[in-house]
Amino acid sequence: MSEIKIETPLNLDKIKDLKAGDRVYLTGTIYTARDAAHERLVNQIENKENVPFKIQNATIYYVGPCPAKPGEVIGSAGPTTSYRMDKYTPLLLDKGLKGMIGKGLRNEKVIDSMIENKAIYFAAIGGAGALISSCIKESRIIAYPELGAEAIRELYVENFPLIVAIDSKGNNLYNR
């Protein structure tokens, strides 16, 4: 079990040798989106409208954080269950999404699309929201502020502890 440090934006070179089960510390810019934001993103793509951030090589974190206390960057911010995003994910992968961070299983369609588009899925520790929030150094709402916790945020993270759950070849840690 190795520990690896990587930085966003991800690309094929950075992820091709990562294997399911590897422990990774991620640094750089990532974007938050969960159920409602995914629905909007996909609608915008289908209607050929502009989306709030460049999907190509981006990493999306499935999270709906708690509000920040005064003086804090963000509140508790652990992952939400990923399968609810499965319906929207293949289209985002086709548009170049490289990394996803969440928790739990993905369906066949997502895994097939990950293999085809060479993308990676990381598990963050569900329920470790306080710990993860201490890795988040900057947070800014960039779209859909009316969605509250579900708005899209641009985060800058430092050494975010992750485990490769499904690698770019489709090896799935949950199946072992």
Partner: protein, 280 residues
Amino acid sequence: MREISTTIIIEKVKEMCISANRNLGKDVIDKIEQSLREEKSLIGKDILEKLLENANIAKEKQMPICQDTGMAVFFVEVGQNLVISGGSLTDAINEGVRQGYKEGYLRKSIVGDPILRENTNDNTPAIIHYDLVEGDKLRMLFAPKGFGSENMSRVAMLKPSDGIEGIKDFVIDTVKKAGPNPCPPIVVGVGVGGTMEKACLLAKKALMRNIGIYNKKSHISGLEKELLKEINKLGIGPQGLGGNTTALDVNIEVFPTHIAGLPVAVNLNCHVARHMNIEI
């Protein structure tokens, strides 16, 4: 007749919402520590260590243990010799939730209509189950319930002939199907008997019990221990990434039922097994 004013109830509910979400109970922490000593998987150990570290950070910084600060669920026992003054008890509980979730910087996770899905922005309404009891006290059990685990819960109307084996199979199958989604290690609440809705209520109430406390009936506590062992043999492990710590505890509640039925409900809770109770 004893009188309690809604002002006091609002204040108590508010405090309870904030505190339960920030301070993980000692029963849960002790059990995770014990599991860490017994866990064989390296990734599993690493995760359990991080969960303890997380609980620590939450307590020190007084922030939520998990960002899903849940739907506010209450079991309220109202003494029949008690008078509530200053408004309705339900309104007071909801007001306490409203204030607690705002002042505690907790996440507002409730939509006002399940189809239209507009956030109510104050985490109300709460789910409140009332019981009228003897005496003049007000007792409230509170659990902020996250939906990663709630979504993996199930109910089955078994046949009496399915018996204890049927119950075991259903519980184990539910845990298997849930896999990593309810944030294992989990707490398994099981309700057996009653009617369909009664079984579900029993399962929820079972989650309000401290870890390590068993059912008073010996044939039920035996089943609790047996199921815990079986579940931890499944290999799901912390976060579903493998290991022998899949569940922290199994709590079963039972109730009389009909000659033709054997309702079983399984309500899952995650390792952030928040629950608190107060008596006023």
